[in-house]
Amino acid sequence: MTVEQLSGGEMLIRALHDEGVEIVFGYPGGAVLHIYDAIFQQDKVEHILVRHEQAATHAADGYARATGRPGVVLVTSGPGATNAVTGVATAYMDSIPMVVISGQVESRLIGSDAFQETDMVGISRPIVKHSFMVSSAADIPRIVKEAFHIATTGRPGPVVIDVPKDVTDPKVKLPYEYPKDVKMRSYQVPGKGHSGQIKKAVEALLSAKRPMIYAGGGVIQGNGSELLTKLTQKLGYPITNTLMGLGAYPGTDKQFLGMLGMHGTYEANMAMHYCDVLLGIGARFDDRVTNSDTSKFCPDATILHVDIDPASISKTVTADVPIVGSVTAVLEEMLDQVQKSKTKVDKEALGIWWKQIEQWRGKDSLAIKSSGPDIIMPQQAVQAVYDITKGDAYVSSDVGQHQMFAAQHYTFDKPRRWINSGGLGTMGFGLPAAMGVQFAFPDAISVCITGEGSFQMNLQEYATCMQYQLPIKIICLNNQALGMVKQWQDMQYGGRYSHSTYAESLPDFTKLAEAYGHVGIRISHPDELHSKLEEAFALKDKLVFVDIQVDPNEHVYPMAIKGGAMKDMVLSKTERT
């Protein structure tokens, strides 16, 4: 058998195909022209032309979150690479598998401040799981294989491959063979958890009087939702999901207490504070959950922490029983040990605990307080979208009040449906992420719940949506201000709206959508909310921007009180715990 001879550029694309990659989001430029020429001459890997490199990374990210497969990005050197940085950091913070191929100037020019040169490996170092600089085309197959292996295994994350232009020279052909497996002595993937530790955790769980389960994005990334649901229902225990974990447990189930944390429900935060055994799984006890002072966090609880990343355990809150392993392996063993254990759930104590929780739930902390018959409350708009899409859409969001309203009021029953930048909090994420989702699932409903602030950070992607005919539904909760900033200014800065308002300079969003060949619908009265939204979702082949004029003064509640414990919350403009 003759070994195929390929150039470095051809190898890259071929290796992507051999890795199972179907789609690449990118933007061409000088340093990657050889690679783009290789793309042109094949039809196995589809390339999507975005309008800004940041959007390429977010689209790949959205694709990865929705499918569980790694997102792939191709950008040129210099500004192409630096534009991608925000998206790489976004993926890193949320542990999203991604491979970013960046062009680089020719090897002989590196370090000479050449045109469009930037040290991408250096710039991205703190925000990648790993990075490679390709020094020879012969290394490309191995490096691509290793990059995907690292990006997708263990705690997933972005990997950068920086490729100098000379390495992709079409005139230099080398033998190509894609490696079957990876040999890396310095990279091991944690497997199943320690059985002894799992047993300890299960005994603690079964002996609990006031148990609580706290599940995060790791359960979704690790495909552990089904097992988590099984375990939770077998035990009959209350459960909460983090912002990143929404959908890990069915949101409509009665054991679900809603999201926890800074804008979590009253019952979820109260149950966290008063529980005596806490099972944290695939969650990292971050400051938006624990509130700023971790010494006040879950004061009575024995903390069981399951995570695939040992560095996440006891980072902010010390775990009494740490378990390092994949969520599926650990959950399977937990289920097995719950079955086998002689200790049985204390039904009586659990009954009392649920009674207490129901009392907290009775407070209905997410109830919408109308500002008047002619004013659309932002939560109402989210609920209307939920009703119309029957809770079965893929919902991406940006960052701010609308994100929290979406998280609180669109109830997710399935994992991988809620696509948001939880860790980095990247405005401008929503639309490109929704594009990634729509490319992955052309027939699904891809909704982007956004604000007029975030949307304007990547609105150039309207053009991409036009080019590829993506029928995304953009639901803009337009409050004519940077709502979350304004909320904090209301609460902590005496209502001094420093650079958070711009009502007089907003574009006509309807015309803007039309200018790009899309449809724009404006909703300004509660009476037309449902009907016009239905009209928007009925336009199945069109991107529709729905500009919903919502109450500009609404705040997101509950809201954690800074420096307090999880039980300390502001519940409305006039009420606190």
Binding site: V121, G122, R125, P126, K129, H130, S131, M133, I150, M184, R185, S186, Y187, D309, P310, A311, S314, K315, T318
Partner: protein, 163 residues
């Protein structure tokens, strides 16, 4: 508490910057750092001295282990170990001082490795404390220049940091 962490990492470009970058990006201290290839050319050994309570040191070792280039790691201060640092120190040595400095160097088992009519260059190895003590003994008016390698260390007995 002071800790000496030794690790083996891939002898590749970028590996060192990842380790050093980790310390700055996570706000950990580096008191000293040494790095050089080992008997196996594909591996470098890096030794870093750092400070922190147990929780912080645990985080440092976990994050170091998480780096793809880091192959193996040991906290030498967890067990019996030998640590050494090498110092080259240039001191003013004039007239009667010359004999005094030589005597002091002998007490510290230092060697004069170079001299001029006015200056001694002394080589000294030992723990960091010993080197500090020698500098103090010389006095700040005498010391002209100090070059220290940073701490290198190895565990006592049969325990090895190897693949």
């Amino acid at each position: 508490m002071r800790h000496i962490i030794s690790l083996l990492m891939e002898n590749e470009p970028g590996a060192l910057s990842r380790v050093v970058g980790l310390f700055s990006q996570r706000n950990y201290n580096i008191d000293s750092l040494t790095v050089a290839p080992t008997e196996d050319n594909s591996l470098s050994r890096l030794t870093v001295t750092t400070n922190g309570d147990d929780a912080r040191i645990e985080q440092i070792t976990k994050h170091l282990n998480r780096l793809v280039d880091v192959v193996k790691l040991v906290d030498l201060t967890e067990g019996a170990h030998v640590e050494r640092e090498l110092m080259l120190i240039k001191v003013k040595a004039l007239g009667a001082q010359r004999a005094e400095i030589k005597r002091t160097a002998d007490i510290f088992r230092g060697q004069v490795v170079d001299l001029t009519a006015n200056v001694f260059t002394i080589q000294l190895t030992g723990t960091s404390d010993k080197l500090d003590a020698f500098i103090a003994a010389m006095g700040e008016n005498t010391v002209l220049e100090v070059a220290r390698t940073g701490v290198s260390g190895i565990s006592r007995g049969e325990k090895t940091l190897a693949l």
